[in-house]
């Protein structure tokens, strides 16, 4: 091997598969008992309900894609790497419905899913020479990208007892002269299933303003709320603090495979322009790949014409699933749920390993659960909280009942004898 000049690149190895949701789930799924074909696997680990018939996207969206590809108008390189103008305009209009000001197409940048929006955001941060503040627990892509860009990450807490509210004091304690230019909030929450109130978001905005840092609002689950708190976009407070809003059609339209997302500057005072953050974004977008042109071409139709009946149907199913999930978890002694989920597709629950025989921690729990009962759940350690679990409820309600029933049986089987 000495004669070849290339080999493992230590730098790229910094973000090994253990730090992404897909990576961790892959490990757990390797533990499935392949010799048990009698029971289908119940996938309660990832946020992708699209395989289930009740979560099929609207035919309108599929028609839009097919019309665009058949039109032959979208086969060429796009005129700009920032996104086709009609798509950017449609997204600006779509988001402006919920804002006290109007976004323009120039505020909108198209990305390959929210995943690429996150990648761009982190690389822009590297350009600012700063670090980043992430919530704990957090969707691990932020940490993975920060790590592979050699950026420092600091974590602030979300408080389980208070509906996973942001611990404002912990943010203020983290900030110093070298602080992070950015703090990330994910609302509706992944992994927590929480939805912040207008009041809570305003407080976050004011705190960020005081510290001189900008807010990255990951709103990939925008409008997926089914509790009492309505969805309030962080951009509402864009005049208090500049906001980078990340989103996509993946969750609301149940098409994560289509990879159509956006990065939007919700910043009526133009601070992101003045500080050249926008120039950084543009320079970066000119270097990387972009969504297929025909998918961009379908965006205006999808955003403008999808009816409320489709949206409400999906919300109803999610609400029902969230109820089922919460009720069944209450029946399992070694698992507690501090907050009933009111948004997104997930709930964070606390595991009490001391009530179990021979289960050391959350990862052990998940590995054994996969092996013995073919149920996949995400261990909290992947999100920064050991001995917690993230459970997806966005699956067919019957599959959910089945899966939670098996988890209950698993816990009974492993319960410590007194």
């Amino acid at each position: 091997m000495e004669r070849w000049n290339f080999g493992a690149n230590r730098e790229v190895m910094i973000a090994p598969s253990g730090t992404t949701v897909r990576g961790v789930l892959k490990k757990i799924m390797e533990n499935l008992d392949k010799d048990d074909p009698s029971r289908p696997t119940v996938p309660l680990g990832h946020g992708d309900p699209s395989p289930f018939p009740c979560f099929r996207t609207t035919v309108l969206a599929e028609d839009a894609i097919v019309d665009a590809v058949r039109s032959a108008k979208f086969n060429s390189y796009p005129p700009t790497m920032l996104g086709l103008l009609p798509a950017r305009r449609a997204i600006a209009d779509y988001l402006s419905h919920d804002l006290p000001y109007t976004l323009t197409p120039d505020d909108v940048f198209l990305t390959m899913g929210c995943a690429q929006a996150i990648e761009v955001t982190i690389r822009v941060l590297a350009c600012l020479g700063a670090n980043i503040l992430l919530p704990r627990p957090c969707f691990p892509s932020y940490g993975a990208h920060a790590s592979s860009n050699n950026l420092e990450v600091r974590y602030f807490d979300l408080i389980p007892e208070k509906g996973w509210e942001v611990d404002i004091e912990s943010i203020e304690a983290l900030a110093d002269e070298n602080t992070g230019a950015m703090m990330v909030i994910i609302n509706p929450g992944n992994p927590c299933g929480s939805v912040y109130t207008h009041q809570q978001l305003k407080k976050i905005a004011e705190t960020a303003r005081k510290l001189g840092i900008l807010v990255v609002a990951d709103e990939v689950y925008h409008h997926l709320t089914f509790g009492t708190n309505p969805f309030v976009p962080m951009g509402v407070f864009g005049s208090i603090v500049p906001v980078l809003t990340l989103g996509s059609i993946s969750k609301r339209w149940l098409v994560p495979g289509w990879r159509l997302g956006w990065l939007v500057t919700s910043d009526p005072n133009g601070i992101l322009q003045k500080t050249k953050v926008v120039d950084c974004i543009i320079n970066l977008l000119n270097l990387i790949s972009h969504p297929p042109t025909f998918i961009q071409g379908a965006v205006p139709h999808i955003l403008e014409k999808t009816g409320d009946d489709f949206f409400s149907k999906i919300i109803d199913i999610l609400r029902e699933a969230a109820h089922i999930c919460y009720d069944r978890i209450m029946e399992i002694p070694c698992i507690t749920c501090p907050n009933k989920p009111v948004g997104s597709m997930f709930v964070m629950v606390k595991l009490n390993p001391s009530l179990l025989e021979d289960i050391i921690d959350d990862m052990d729990f998940c590995l054994k659960l996969a092996k013995e009962d073919s149920v996949i759940v995400l261990p909290g350690v992947a999100l920064g909280m050991k001995n917690w679990l993230r459970i997806t409820f966005a699956v067919e309600p019957s599959a959910l009942e089945d899966g939670l029933g098996r988890i209950k049986a698993f816990c009974q089987r492993h319960a410590k004898k007194h």
């Binding site: 290339f6 690149n9 897909r22 395989p51």
Partner: protein
């Protein structure tokens, strides 16, 4: 941090130069387009960018949009894809490429990407580490340099020899390589030169690379677009001599550059990429980068399997005829010479003889003035690494090509040095 009005000023300031790419084809073309005369009523002749989609003769096969429609309506492809790509699509690529290989590729050798653009992004990023360098051809494709610069990977350039059909100057490759060189890039069929490397020459490249301990990245985005006497030979054929990373996409052969579907393939029967840990690195990187849409991947299987031979030959015929037109008309323009008649891809390099022109200082000046006076867009060679040359696309509607070359001829006459 200063405190102003009771709160700190913004603690962030962007430094766009950190990601400013020095030169891009797109950037230069934008400047040229902006230099056109707004009062010129004639249609612009776009001979700068290799994207013939606007021309009816170059319409893609209906198999392609049908495949996307089927995949979308099947409802099987709305989910997240696996990070390496869905297995049916990877199998289809493996089978498609293996037809021209002396060994069989497996689906595990294939990684799906968002176009060849993302393939380049991934490969260069994975190779970047302190002190490493990589060898690029000159003239070449500037995205490689931009990417290397962004990843802090040192770029070194070896020459392509115009008098020898733009072959690789292997002596210059050996002179450049040292113990920190990780790989060399070849683009075959060539962008920007329009040549197709012979089997013999590719073998020599493989043997040189192997001797130097570096692997070959073979950018085959124009794969199979070879219409001259040299058939297209994939570099992977020499995979047992030297490990080869084959990059490709459907963008050019199917005339759908906007669809962004490409691949990285390890053409390496001796498994050196695995043993050296390179594959693991690439998989790690793929775990965090974004993927091409699942419905596009679902369509790929059908596209690769069901496209008919007559579509491929039709496109090749149109491009061949266009290359002939280009070569013939260039003979009539004294200040331009074509060192090697194009036999592949969609572009050719021309030499510009400034001594025959009055008041034109270099290739950029030539192109800017041509845009302004004749609404014809041609790419100045400095963009691709060779000053006082031009890169010209011939993959356009034949009538537009005749029109454009006629206007270039008129431009020459207007600027010719008087005896």
């Amino acid at each position: 941090m200063e405190v102003v009005n009771g709160h700190k000023k913004w603690g962030f300031q962007g430094n766009p130069e950190l990601i400013a790419s020095s030169i891009s084809v797109r950037g230069v073309l934008t400047k040229l387009m902006a230099n056109r005369n707004k009062d010129d009523k004639r249609p612009t002749i776009p001979l700068g960018r290799a994207d013939p989609t606007e021309f009816p003769s170059y319409r893609t096969t209906p198999v392609a949009p049908d495949a996307v429609a089927d995949a979308t309506y099947s409802y099987n492809f709305n989910c997240y894809p696996p990070t390496v790509g869905i297995v049916e699509a990877r199998r289809a690529v493996a089978e498609y490429l293996s037809k021209d290989f002396p060994y069989q590729l497996s689906p595990d050798d294939v990684y799906l990407t968002g176009g060849c653009t993302q393939a380049i992004e991934i490969v260069v990023s994975v190779l970047a580490r302190p002190n490493a360098n990589i060898l690029f051809p000159r003239p070449g494709y500037p995205q490689y340099e931009a990417r290397a610069s962004c990843s802090k990977l040192e770029a070194r350039h070896f020459d392509l020899i115009p008098e020898k059909g733009w072959e690789v100057d292997l002596d210059s490759v050996e002179a450049l390589a040292d113990e920190n060189t990780v790989a060399m890039v070849i683009i075959n069929p060539s962008n920007p030169c329009g040549n197709v490397f012979t089997y013999q020459h590719l073998k020599e490249i493989a043997e040189t690379a192997s001797k130097l301990g570096i692997f070959v990245i073979s950018d085959e985005v124009y794969g199979h677009l070879a219409f001259g006497s040299n058939p297209f030979v994939p570099m992977g054929v020499f995979g047992s001599t030297v490990p080869v990373l084959t990059l490709g996409s459907i963008s050019k052969r199917w005339i759908v550059p906007g669809w962004r579907l490409g691949w990285i393939v390890t053409s390496d029967p001796n498994g050196i990429f695995h043993q050296s840990g390179f594959v693991e690195c690439m998989r790690n990187f793929l775990d965090i980068t974004t993927d091409p849409p699942t419905n596009m991947q679902g369509a790929l299987t059908q596209i690769l399997k069901h496209t008919k031979e007559d579509f491929y030959s039709k496109i090749l015929t149109i491009i061949r005829e266009a290359a002939d037109i280009l070569y013939d008309r260039i003979q009539e323009i004294p200040c331009l010479t074509c060192p090697h008649k194009p036999e592949g891809s969609m572009v050719a390099m021309l030499k510009l003889n400034l001594s025959l022109l009055e008041g034109i200082i270099d290739d950029v000046d030539f192109c800017m003035k041509l845009a302004k006076e004749e609404s014809v867009i041609v790419l100045p060679g400095v963009t691709v690494g060779l000053k006082n040359c031009l890169r010209i696309t011939f993959a356009v509607e034949h009538s537009a090509l005749e029109d454009g070359l006629g206007r270039i001829k008129a431009f020459y006459h207007r600027h010719a040095k008087k005896e």
